[in-house]
């Protein structure tokens, strides 16, 4: 549950403020900004049906940004004794004095009003080594019982961040995140299944279901056979959809669009705000207060982060503007999306499968890399459960594929959207930027070549 009074990991608001005040008291620059990140990372890792490593790291990092006129420099340190802090402040100031002027620098922000967000869940922050080990051992036991092989990862982060400026701005946020992912393989290495969850609240992580799903996928994918590459109707399970959609986060930036180096650039100059670019059922927002996907309501510079609508019914509604670019273009600044929340529909995954005459069901993706930013295209591979659907039913497991796919085309080719859920969208299994997406049925998805990998 949220909002307990128990001791949280990371510095408290009072401790953060005191530390900021102490550092600001040492500062001699025209302006100074402080960012503090503090907390723990705990992890338990399994492979070949054993716990291979587990650990916990505790850290506090302070960034001191010093400004003289338009000369700016920063120093990060995790040494917090008085002498080290003084040295870091002097170092930042010495660097700033000799740094060339940054003509785009704008004065530090004064006090701001932030939306109230508490992303700290005690269930996650208080998670013990033993609890992690017990949860991880569920995957091992499920695999062992079937003489299969499990490899998994539970990643826990709990802590706080703070920002302060010499213009009396102060912001504080504390939050948690947890991801639990599991791969189960057959001992002959001929099949592999994956399942995972990511949330802010450990209580919503379903460890038993993850073990069951990974095992089920691994069983179902046995005996895979070849399927020709080509353009297919595909169903992207939520994790696969989220892994692709999270690549859109950085695309909603006005500056590259206005400068002619983005999909959102308009031929002849300007950007494509207001144009209908995607299927009308595509709506994408970001919201720091999104339940179980909370994020800080301020940027590192202290700029407020609000709920924003980026795409509404297929129309590009917003782009992010840095303070400098906003001033230059005469609009209000807008922070880049801190999380990705895509609306969906009512269809269940089963409904979606029933609606496919011939297509491919994709569990998750791997090694996604950009190809062509002009059309937001990416390459990557399917992984851990790929199936042919025929006449509304899973017909057979098939080999993995490399895909080459434009996301702008994908969002225009959406056929059915399911119910959105938060997914473990980071390939590394780290609890990262919150991504909430529906499963997607899309037409003309390019499966470019076969991959032998399992």
């Amino acid at each position: 549950m949220q909002n307990t009074n128990a001791k949280r990991h990371g510095l408290s608001a009072d401790e953060s403020r005191q530390l900021c005040d102490k550092i600001l008291g040492l500062a001699r620059a025209d302006h100074t900004r402080i960012n503090i990140t503090s907390g723990i990372q705990g992890f338990t890792r399994t492979a070949i049906n054993r716990i291979t490593t587990a650990g916990e790291t505790n850290n506090v990092t302070v960034r001191i940004t010093s400004i003289f006129g338009k000369r700016v420099a920063s120093v990060d340190t995790n040494r917090l004794d008085d002498a080290a802090l003084e040295r870091a402040v002097r170092d930042a100031e010495a660097l700033a004095k000799i740094a060339p002027e940054n003509p785009e620098y704008l004065p530090e922000l004064a006090e701001q009003k932030y939306m109230p967000v508490d992303g700290y869940y005690a269930s996650t922050g208080d998670l013990t080594t033993e609890s992690r080990a017990r949860a991880a051992s569920l995957g091992i036991k499920a695999a062992d019982a079937s003489k299969f092989v499990a490899a998994g990862f539970i990643d826990v982060a709990a802590g706080s961040q703070a920002v302060a400026t010499s213009n009396r701005l102060f912001g504080y946020y504390s939050g948690t995140a947890v991801a639990s992912t599991l791969t189960i393989r057959t001992p002959d290495g001929l099949s592999s299944g994956w399942a995972g969850d990511e949330d802010a609240d450990w209580n919503t992580i379903e460890s038993e279901r993850i073990a069951e799903d990974a095992l089920r996928k691994c069983r179902a994918w046995r005996g895979k056979t070849a399927l020709d590459p080509g353009k297919y109707e595909v169903i992207l399970e939520p994790t696969a959809a989220g892994m692709l959609m999270s690549r859109m986060l950085g695309v909603f930036d006005a500056r590259p669009a206005d400068e002619g180096r983005s999909f959102f650039s308009k031929r002849g100059g300007g950007n494509r705000l207001g144009e209908k670019l995607f299927d009308e059922r595509v709506t994408i927002i970001s919201n720091p207060a999104e339940k179980n996907a909370e994020t800080s309501p301020f940027t590192n510079a202290g700029q407020p982060v609000q709920r924003e609508v980026w795409v509404e019914k297929g129309v590009l509604k917003s782009l992010a503007y840095s303070r400098f670019w906003a001033m230059k273009q005469g609009v209000a600044p807008k922070a880049i999306p801190p999380n990705f929340v895509m609306s969906g529909g009512d269809a269940s995954l089963d409904d979606m499968i029933k609606s496919v005459k011939r297509g491919v069901l994709i569990t998750r993706l791997w090694y996604i890399r950009g190809l062509n930013p002009r059309v937001i295209s990416f390459t990557g591979l399917t992984r851990d459960g790929t199936f042919l659907i025929e006449n509304g039913k899973i017909a057979r497991p098939v080999t993995n594929f490399r895909f080459n796919q434009s996301l702008s085309e994908l969002l225009a080719n959406v056929e059915v959207l399911g119910r959105p859920t938060r997914v473990a969208a980071d390939e590394s299994g780290a609890a990262g930027t919150p991504v909430m997406v529906p499963p997607l049925k899309v037409r003309n998805f390019t499966l470019a070549s076969v991959s032998d990998a399992i």
């Binding site: 650990g55 790291t57 505790n58 990060d76 090694y367 590394s428």
Partner: protein, 524 residues
Amino acid sequence: MQTKLDRREFIKLAGAAGVAAARPFQQTTAPGPDAAEKDLVMLALDAARSAGASYADVRITRGNTELVATRERQITNVSKNETYGIGIRSLVGGSWGFAATRDLARNSVAAAARQAAAIARSNDRINPVKTTLASVQKFPDGRWMTPHEVDPFTIPIEQKAQLLFKTNEEALRVKGVRFVTSSISSIRESRLLGTTEGSLIQQTFFRIGPNVNVTAVSDDNGDFQTRNAVLAPRGAGWEYVLGLQMQENVLRWAEEAAAKLTATPVQPGLWDLVLHPSHLWLTIHESIGHPTELDRAMGYEANFAGTSFLSPPEKVLNKFRYGPAFMNIVGNRTESGGCSTCGWDDEGVPAQSWLIVDKGVFVNYQTTREMASWISNLTKVRESLGTAYGQDWASIPFPRMPNVSLQPNTQDVSEEDVIAATKHGIYIEGDGSYSIDQQRYNFQFGGQVFWEIKDGKRIRMLRDVAYQARTPNFWNSLALAGGKSTYRLGAALNDGKGQPQQLNAVSHGCPIALFRNVNVINTG
């Protein structure tokens, strides 16, 4: 000890098993441990032992980085970063536990050491296992430092910024070039390792990573093309940056960015490929470096980085043909200028070099102390090959890639010779988009600049090129490798692996090389 061995010298040293004798460096000029840090290491080792650890290792690392970054005529970032702390890894029963803290007060260090042992004990209670560590010689006063001429931290920020501004200015002279970003990252790291087996090793690493990226935009904003200079990071000092002559060379990079706007789109199909070392290093990294990691082959990375097509070991070691008989791949933590070059690994195993592919046949993996015994009956190598590494004090050591390099042709084959041997091909310079599957079979790589070769001559620039291949087919299509004069190091500072993910700095050396009949696609 830093000199690179040629093939004949290497074989002589390597002996039948293909492993060069581990010869620890004792650089007498390298700094020794700080007395206070040494005390903390001893305190942590004692605390871990008292808490029941049968083995423990302790690392105090202090990492310093400095970044100067620009775009066009302005600065975008001047920053320094220091991260300092202690990490303790303990073995209780057969289970590992790890704890790390930035707080170097004696009681905090002792508490972290006890916590590492407690985590190990708790895991061992819930999931008891066996772990065997290969033996290692004790080094009670090991010292090593990256060979360098000029400590990059002694070069003033203004001088670095001026170099970048002059580079940007030159690029902006080229018609069509609208954007240039450039940066220099300097890294210094002190790493003190202590083990319960009696080693105490102080190492100091220098690495430097320059970057230049030029973007040209068409007159109507309808198209844009980038050309990254692909300046390899290096285990070296400031002298490396000076040697790159960025100011002089940027004109070519900028002209190439602009030329890409009007280059001919590639026709998909089978092409011969002439791969420059600034491109081929990454193909080696992905299709040879990663699949020859033993932890991957055994399933330790199955949930993230993946497994390996080179598995199980008994079916592939000394049997699997990677490529032609002139193909030799060496794992080498002593390569001059290599980003993974060191004196010892994070388990106190001396840096060494060994054959991974010998005359085209796969003969060895990359191992750590925990993994050496898993394949010693097949390789006859009982000791670790020294690939344990944790990215910093906060990260548990685990197997990471050494410098893995393709050896050059013993004949003096020049770049011109390789181009002349190509009838219908594409010359690729620089790495671009890259992606490979989780067992390292199917890959797709782009590049920075592409030239069509016809009848042994480069004739025109192409664009939107990427090639797709299957690792064994690709390496068996290797037709000709350049000689020593074409050998270069490519590198990355950010190779990701592990959960939690850690970054590793690693280099790959290779000559220019010709591959026959590779499937090329158009990414436009």
